[in-house]
Amino acid sequence: MPVQPAFVLHTGDVTHLASPEQFDTAQAAFSEIGVPIHFVPGEHDIVDGTDPRPYLARFGGPGAKGDGWYSFDAGGVHFIALINVVRLGDKGQGTLGPDQLAWLKDDVAGLRASTPIVAFAHFPMWSLYPDWGWGTQDGAAAMALLSRFGSVTVLNGHIHQIQQTIEGRTVFHTARSTAYPQPAPGEGAGPGPLTLPPEQLRGAIGLTSAAIRTGHGPLALTDQTLA
């Protein structure tokens, strides 16, 4: 990496089919990065059911509760890892569930409203395109618990493209994938992999960098392709 980050957030789908071999390959690849990585699972990491334990045994966060949710503090920011892929809602949307929402309420109860919040999950936390499952059914309940904070940044994966929205003081941002691109919401037959000419592919995949500048407004998010 050209600039060594303090740590990496992985917004899920470490594997495609959650097999032991794919988890092995992912672990070997991540061991080369050399900085801490904080993961949340994607639905592909729990592909054969609702048991997140094979994933959690390898990638679970320290002190993870329930299906694997956890939080940590870094650089004055409170980071919250939300799990919305273990029980799918209507049309494959994510769900958080009452246990996780109760935990979230307790987790942020002692924080000052000036504490910047970064929440990250796999499925979009806002209703981006529910017909393709691109949303979280009870995401609004989680956002309500964070509404008193002055700066809330919500990151997700799953849709393999940049999508952003702002609701109140909350900024939602989806990063690109490092695997394959997917079509824009509602464009084409469905949300399967998007095939591009080889020369265009690396321009459609990439990473998102977040720079924390305390006291200077929201986080600066920079998207960079792998081209």
């Binding site: 054969d48 609702t50 799918l88 209507d90 049309k91 017909d131 393709w132 037959a189 469905g190 949300p191």
Partner: protein, 125 residues
């Protein structure tokens, strides 16, 4: 047969729901609408390729767990089910309730949406 079903559906729509028929009869599926709704399935499935889920072409009328090259759960393989429209409706309502131990956890809560998707799949021969 098809005419009879269309007639019964339109009768059910024109009569009061209080007659109880609308709840008992599955809704008539609209394959055009179903094609759009099928996009929700395409995170895992497509018509012609196995991925997270098996390929769907020809699924209506097929015996469950029999697509070549797809790694099914033992539960679905042993289910003995045939994918009739009625069975697909139950499956899409709650795969885990129908076949405990199956690998699919995706569901469609709306009965009309399920009927539309099944009508679309029935055309994909």
């Amino acid at each position: 047969m098809i005419c009879v079903r269309i007639l019964s559906a339109s009768l059910a729509a024109s009569l009061a729901v209080g007659a109880g028929r609308a709840l008992a009869d599955p809704p008539q599926g609209d394959p055009v609408r179903g094609k759009t709704l099928y996009s929700a399935c395409m995170g895992c499935h497509s018509l012609d390729e196995n991925d997270v889920g098996p390929k769907h072409r020809g699924v209506v009328g097929r015996r469950a767990g029999t697509v070549q090259g797809f790694n099914y759960s033992p539960a679905l393989k042993a289910s003995g089910l045939t994918w009739s429209e009625a069975n697909l409706d139950r499956w899409l309502t709650s795969p885990q309730a129908m076949v405990p131990g199956a690998r699919m956890f995706f569901s469609i809560s709306n009965a009309q949406n399920r009927a539309d998707i099944i009508a679309y799949l029935a055309q994909q021969r």
